[in-house]
Every structure is written in C-alpha cells, then in structure tokens.
C-alpha cells in the first residue's frame, strides 16, 4: 500500500515529491547552469569570450539529450523512465535553443560590431553555427500544443530539422574548436543509438521467422 492510498489527502512528503517531479521544477533545473554562468559573468569572474564555450556546450548537451529519447524508446521499447523523459523532451529541446540563443548573444557582445562578425561569417566554424541556430528557430517556435495542432502531420516533418541542426552543431564545434575530441565525445551516444535503432529495424524487416539452429528453411 502506498502513502497516497493510505491517506485520503496528500501528505507533505507526497506534496514535495510531486513538486520535485513537476515540469516547472524540471525547467528550474535546466536554468541552473545558465544562472551560474550569468552570475559569473556579471560578477566579472568570467570573460565574455569565455561564456561562449559553456553556453554552446550546454546547448549541445540538451539537444543531444532531447534527441536520444525517441531512438532509445525505439531500441529499448517503452520504459517508465523513458516515458518520464519523453514528457520532458520539449523542455530539453526548447532549453537547448535558449542556451544556443545565449551563445549567440555572448558572441555578439564579444565581437562588439557587425563588421567583425561579417568578416568571419565564411569561416567553416562560424557559418555552420549560424545555420544550426537558424534551423533550431522554427523547431523552438513550434514546440507548443497549438503549433502541433495547427501543423498536423507537417509538424513531425518540420521537427526532423533537428537532424541537420545536430550535424551542423557537431561540425561547428569541431571546426571552431580546432579539435574533434570534445565534440565527438558528446555526439557519440547519439550516433550509437541511431546505429542500434537502424540495426534493430533491419533485423525486424529482413529476419524471416526464426528456425532452430542449423536448420535451413
């Protein structure tokens, strides 16, 4: 018998549990790294230039987390913890966009003028970042129930822009940072889960009904 059924009204513990498990609390958790970065910057402890890496990395992490949930469900089947994450996928995706936006804001503050920004827009490490953010914009704008209803089947197609956005984010990170290691360590889980899902789909399409070992049909 659980606490909830033993008592006719929620106990303080149950209330606290449901508060900690609520969506607004999840949003609060997602905002904490940003709040710490901002506090460090306002305090002068973090240079504007040094705000670029943490904002960008946090954005990429949240994006990867959001994009792992779907394929993981495909690989592992429905699980309670995956359902818990699925209910928070929109929060992960939208906050990935918000951290990317903060990344842009600090880039603009650091550059300080349009001429310098235009001068480097052709650098592979830079245009990939711009395009990735541009692709994330319609995703974030349509991450609400009204847009889902209005777009119908097109919503799903539109949200697939997350894939090119993720690939461009990886390239942006790789090229702007002179090294693949950091970016690859982050994106490897996503690549592996995609591979696992593809393998699983191939198996279920190709595999004829199982026969006992050693006997050819």
């Amino acid at each position: 018998m659980t606490i909830a059924t033993a008592f006719p009204y929620p106990t303080p513990v149950a209330k606290l549990r449901s508060l900690l498990n609520s969506l607004p609390f999840f949003w609060l958790l997602l905002a904490i790294p940003g709040a710490l970065m901002l506090a460090g910057w306002l305090d002068g402890a973090i240079d504007t230039m040094d705000m670029l890496h943490p904002t960008g990395e946090t954005s990429a992490r949240l994006m990867i987390a959001a994009m792992l949930i779907g394929p993981l469900t495909g690989v592992l089947g429905a699980r309670r913890w995956l359902g818990w994450l699925l209910r928070r996928r929109r929060a992960l995706g939208v906050s990935a966009f918000l951290y990317a936006l903060a990344h842009l804001v600090f880039y603009v503050i650091d550059m300080g003028n349009l001429d310098d920004m235009l001068a480097e827009i052709g650098a592979p490490g830079i245009w990939t970042g711009w395009v990735a953010l541009a692709l994330m914009l319609p995703l974030a704008c349509t991450s609400n129930n009204a847009a889902m209803r209005a777009l119908g089947a097109a919503w799903k197609r539109l949200q697939r822009l997350a894939y090119p956005a993720a690939i461009l984010t990886l390239l942006h990170w790789w090229w702007v940072h002179n090294g693949l290691a950091g970016a690859l360590a982050h994106f490897a889980p996503l690549a592996l889960v995609w591979l696992a899902l593809a393998a699983r789909r191939l198996q279920s399409v190709d595999a004829p009904p199982r026969t006992p070992k050693g006997i050819r049909p």
Binding site: V176, A196, R200
Partner: protein, 105 residues
C-alpha cells in the same frame, strides 16, 4: 538478438561518462621552449604586439606556447600562438580556420 543494441547502449553510456573530462587546451600547436623560467613574460609579448599594431584581448599559456586572442594590425579577429622565448609568430587562426602557420609547426 538484443545484444547489438545493448552493446551500443553500453558504449553510449561509457562515452557519456567520458564527457566530463575537461578539454580546455585547444592545443592547436605545441612549443618545446624549455622550462618556464627561461621564458620571456606574457606582458612583454602583449606590449610588443600592441606596439606592432595588435589589439590584445586576452593571452594565456597553451601547449607550451603563448596564445593570444586579439585583432591583427590588418583588422582580423584571430587566435594566435607565439614562441614564449623568441616571440616568433607560429600560428594564426580565425575561428579554427588557419590563416598562418610557421614552418615546422
């Protein structure tokens, strides 16, 4: 036939665990300049560069070299590496795009 997805998943978890490893040094190039006691100071490099027409935003040690973030006399926002003993310019890049690389580096 659930082994492959599970193995991939285990790898994914392992890779995720590896995320937390710090990766601050970009290490675009390496300098073999001996002990730091023999180096000229970073301030001396900054004032030399300023005299040459650079705007220095920030400098630090990276890969045994001095790494400088700033604007070249030509007006390009770059990241540049200098030898800490000779102050020779070794490497200049704009957002990872290499603009200059000294011979042997």
């Amino acid at each position: 036939m659930t082994k492959l997805p599970l193995a991939a998943l285990a790898l994914a978890v392992a890779a995720t665990a590896g995320l937390s490893a710090p990766a601050h040094a970009t290490g675009a190039i390496k300098c073999d300049a001996g002990p730091q006691s023999g180096w000229k100071s970073r301030e001396a490099l900054e004032s030399k560069l300023t005299k040459d027409g650079w705007q220095v935003r920030k400098s630090k040690v990276d890969g045994g070299c001095y790494e400088v973030y700033g604007t070249t006399p030509e007006g390009d926002r770059v990241e540049a590496y200098f030898h800490p003993v000779t102050f020779e310019k070794l490497y200049v890049a704009r957002r990872g795009q290499v603009l200059f690389r000294a011979k042997g580096y």
